[in-house]
């Protein structure tokens, strides 16, 4: 304890600097955890927020009873795995390309253009998608003008997996690229200089210098995203698919299912129950993966 206070005094400036972040997590992540309590109670106005009757796991029943949970979990996890892997690989590739590009002006403007979609709201993305793929949308207009049969995108589930993954990747590309680019920038130029003198060409340098040095960043980012693997991107799915039950077989994720089930009958307990299930699953997963990584390559583990 004494050591802790000494540490506190000695590094007071550093602690002061981290204080806002700590406060943020306490207020927005730790205090709300009290809400987990709602998952096990029935809310009543008489009792107020903490006077609800304790009902055990009854709030979780709607997830398990209908027998859709497996399919939902599978969809959510598979989508997120596709998001994580494809996004990270593409971001990595773009970052390497950008870093090797000569010409500052071109580099900067490319980066900006790639970053732009990050600021587009999902409502707009939904509008884009509808105007691209609806009956009178861009794609079908093109198909008919080429003399081909128009395709009813909104009646078939097949194309939507790709459309959703595409738009997710498109939206996050610029942001992730910047992170990787920063990691690349921190690689000392000396390695490259030395390799150049030894006659390594650009591909060899990327393969043997840049990539290995990016692995820790890559793993860190993957680990961080794994925690949210059961948290669907509600905005993305809801805005693109909306109420279209025709497409749910391949596009329904936990978040959209919960929304659909509870939108009519607002129920705090059941909503919290679903959230708890997602968080718990993510927690277990991240501990597990971290454990495996620590076994294999200790330096790369998160904790």
């Amino acid at each position: 304890m004494k050591g802790f206070f000494q540490e506190l005094v000695r590094n007071r400036i550093l602690f002061l600097m981290i204080a806002p972040a700590l406060l943020f997590f306490i207020v927005f992540a730790y205090v709300p955890m009290v809400g987990v309590y709602y998952a096990f109670t029935r809310f009543s106005f008489d009792g107020g927020l903490f006077g609800g009757e304790f009902i055990g796991f009854k709030n979780f029943e709607f997830l398990f009873n209908s027998g859709v949970l497996w399919n939902l979990t599978k969809n959510t996890v598979l989508y997120n795995i596709a998001f994580i892997i494809i996004s990270n690989l593409l971001q990595l590739a773009c970052a390497i390309f950008l870093s090797e590009l000569p010409g500052k002006w071109f580099k900067k403007s490319t980066q900006s253009i790639m970053f732009l979609p990050f600021f587009v709201s999902f409502v707009l993305v939904g509008a884009f998608v509808f105007n691209l793929f609806s009956n009178a949308g861009v794609v079908n207009t093109m198909l008919t003008s080429m003399g081909l049969q128009p395709y009813d995108f909104y009646l078939h589930t097949a194309p939507w997996k790709y459309i959703i993954v595409f738009f997710h990747v498109w939206k996050g590309l610029g942001y992730g690229t910047v992170i990787y680019l920063a990691a690349i920038m921190s690689i000392s130029d000396e390695y490259h200089e030395a390799a150049k003198i030894d006659g390594a060409n650009i591909f060899k340098r990327v393969r043997h210098i840049t990539l290995p040095l990016l692995v820790p960043t890559f793993i860190l980012l993957i680990l961080l995203s794994l925690g949210g693997i059961l948290k669907g991107q509600f905005d993305l799915f809801y805005q693109i698919i909306g109420n279209n039950g025709m497409l749910y077989n391949s596009t329904d994720i936990i978040d959209t299912y919960v929304y659909r089930s509870l939108a009519v009958n607002f129920d705090i307990g059941m909503g919290t129950a679903a959230g708890l299930y997602q968080s718990l699953f993510g927690f277990v997963l991240i501990i597990l993966v971290n454990y495996i990584i620590r076994k294999v390559q200790k330096d790369y583990a998160l904790f």
Binding site: G35, F45, K58, F62, N65, N135, F234, R260, A263
Partner: protein, 532 residues
């Protein structure tokens, strides 16, 4: 991002609850310190009926600021109007109001949270379509029986017994209903000029609707219901079969007809449903709506304005508003209205609590709130200000001295922004200065028609909170959207197979438990009211 708030599935909601709870704690402390400094008149106000009940004029010696919540968005000049109102209230009742709005975005979520978080609210809009019965049953509102005669005497005596009865849950009155009887049957507005031009039959039934849609599609090359078409088709289905929903939105559970209220079924299991969705399949194939209709976000009415559509679902007053709106924006388009109530020659008036004001349990100043409400409902000066804004700025009196005209005399129509907020909960028909349905000339005749075939609304009062079957109900809701809606819109490739899947999924989700629950609740209510 706004949508994200709606994912009740995430812990976000509990974050929100916590946040509002913290806020509530904060304001709770505030009001406590306030009442310490005040007289004990206020403190006793919290306990409902009390020794002041026999005093003729309630004590208003303590200044009180009330917090009210209305649905929807504030008007552009809200601050000005509220200031004016507070000036009057300050003088008459030593009170000011802080008027809050939920905005229309996600209002339902916000409304639920406001009540659940126990925020200190003195009065809030309440309605059967905002789960009034459910909330009252769960104890979210304050019972008003003891307060009304003392603090809102004019309102207490002017509202009819039937109206009070409809605001009563478990023998207690939980809201002050608006006195504004309405008929709101579903129906469609359609382009009558096209019908006449193409020589199509007058719309009287489903066959003539089909003929009309077909004619428009073939001869005009226009998708008749161009946009979201689910409401058009679903309300037509319900009205055509004569199905009655029970206690608000009861999903797939309906009473089969008004005359046999106890014959309660889940409609997807009926042969009528099979027949109907087969018909809808042919309609979809004929192109009456587009195959992407379930993903479309556009209102079919917007397409009518641009000449790209012909049919739009509206209730009767809404139809009037839509038609008069078009008359001024697109005078060359001629619309008509077909209420689905004509299928069975039956309309039920809306409940009195279709629009009402209620006092949440947490209200610190229920008495003063009722006194203000009494003023708003009964004093023309207050009524006009609260509902229509400031005379001369937002409206002026018509020559008849009864109705208002907007924009006011001497104000340019172009760029005029009126004063229009959702004051539905305090409306009183005799005080109204606006005509129903936007003053559409066809409305009076319709109203006569509705009145002549009117029967009391016996279904809306069945109180259900689905507590014992809520997990089944949640699963059923999801199945309706996934399998029921595509079927209703005729979008599935194989109808028979899709019906079988839909039924199987409904059963797996527990529709029979929900059905049994609704039957029990409905029978209980019908027994109590002596309905066979």
């Amino acid at each position: 991002m706004k949508r994200k708030i709606k994912t009740m599935g995430t812990l976000l909601v509990s974050t929100a609850i916590m946040a509002s709870m913290l806020a509530a704690c904060g304001s709770g402390n505030n009001s406590n310190t306030n009442s310490n400094t005040g007289t004990n008149a206020e403190a006793s106000a919290n306990t409902g009926s009390n020794n002041k009940a026999d005093a003729k004029t309630p004590d208003t010696s303590k200044k009180v600021e009330l917090t009210w919540y209305l649905l929807g968005d504030p008007a552009k000049d809200q601050a000005k109007v509220t200031a004016e109102l507070n000036k009057m209230l300050q003088q008459d009742l030593n009170t000011t109001i802080k008027l809050n709005f939920t905005t229309w975005t996600d209002w339902q979520t916000k409304y639920n949270l406001l009540l659940a978080s126990g925020e200190k609210i003195d009065m809030i809009f309440a309605s059967s379509w905002a789960d009034f019965y459910k909330f009252a049953n769960q104890g979210a509102f304050m019972p008003l029986n003891d307060l009304l005669p003392t603090y809102a005497p004019a309102t207490w005596s002017s509202i009819s017994e039937q109206d009070w009865k409809e605001a009563t849950v478990n023998d207690k009155i939980y809201a002050v209903p608006a006195t504004y009887p309405e008929y709101t049957p579903d129906g469609i507005v359609y382009r009558d000029d096209w019908r006449q031009e193409l020589g199509l039959p007058e719309i009287t039934d489903v066959n003539s609707i089909e003929a009309y849609l077909d004619g428009v599609k073939k001869s005009k090359g226009v998708t008749p219901i161009n946009g979201k078409a689910y409401n058009e088709v679903f309300t037509m289905f319900k009205a055509f079969q004569g199905y009655q929903q029970i206690g608000g939105d009861s999903g797939v559970i309906v009473s089969k007809s008004y005359d046999t209220p106890r014959d309660i079924v889940a409609y997807p299991f009926t042969p009528e449903f099979e027949e109907w969705v087969k018909k809808m399949k042919t309609w979809a194939e004929k192109g009456f709506w587009k195959s992407d209709t379930l993903s479309d976000q556009k209102e079919a009415g917007d397409a009518i304005k641009t000449g790209q559509g012909a049919v739009y679902w509206r209730n009767a007053p809404g139809a009037g508003g839509f038609i008069t709106g078009l008359q001024s924006s697109n005078p060359d388009i001629k619309m008509n209205y077909f209420p689905f109530s004509r299928f069975h020659g039956l309309t039920t008036p809306t409940l009195s609590v279709n629009n009402a004001m209620a006092i949440p349990k947490s209200a610190p100043n229920a008495e003063r709130s009722l006194m203000v409400l009494d003023k708003l409902r009964n004093d023309p000066k207050y009524y006009d200000l609260f509902n229509y804004g400031i005379e001369g700025t937002h409206y002026s009196m018509d020559a008849d001295g009864k109705h208002i005209v907007t924009p006011p005399a001497g104000v340019e129509a172009k760029g005029f922004v009126g004063y229009d907020i959702a004051t539905w909960g305090v409306r009183v028909e005799s005080m109204e200065r606006k005509k129903q349905a936007g003053g559409w000339e066809g409305f009076d005749a319709l109203l006569e028609e509705f009145k002549s075939q009117s029967k009391p609304n016996i279904f809306a009062q069945v109180i259900m909170d689905y507590a014992p079957v809520k997990s089944q109900q949640a699963a059923v809701n999801s199945v309706i959207q996934q399998y029921g809606m595509p079927l209703m819109m005729g979008l599935v490739p194989d109808v028979d197979k899709a019906i079988a899947t839909y039924r199987k999924q409904l059963e797996a989700a527990g529709v029979n438990d929900v059905l049994k629950y609704v039957q029990e609740q409905a029978n209980k209510t019908f027994d109590a009211q002596g309905i066979k």
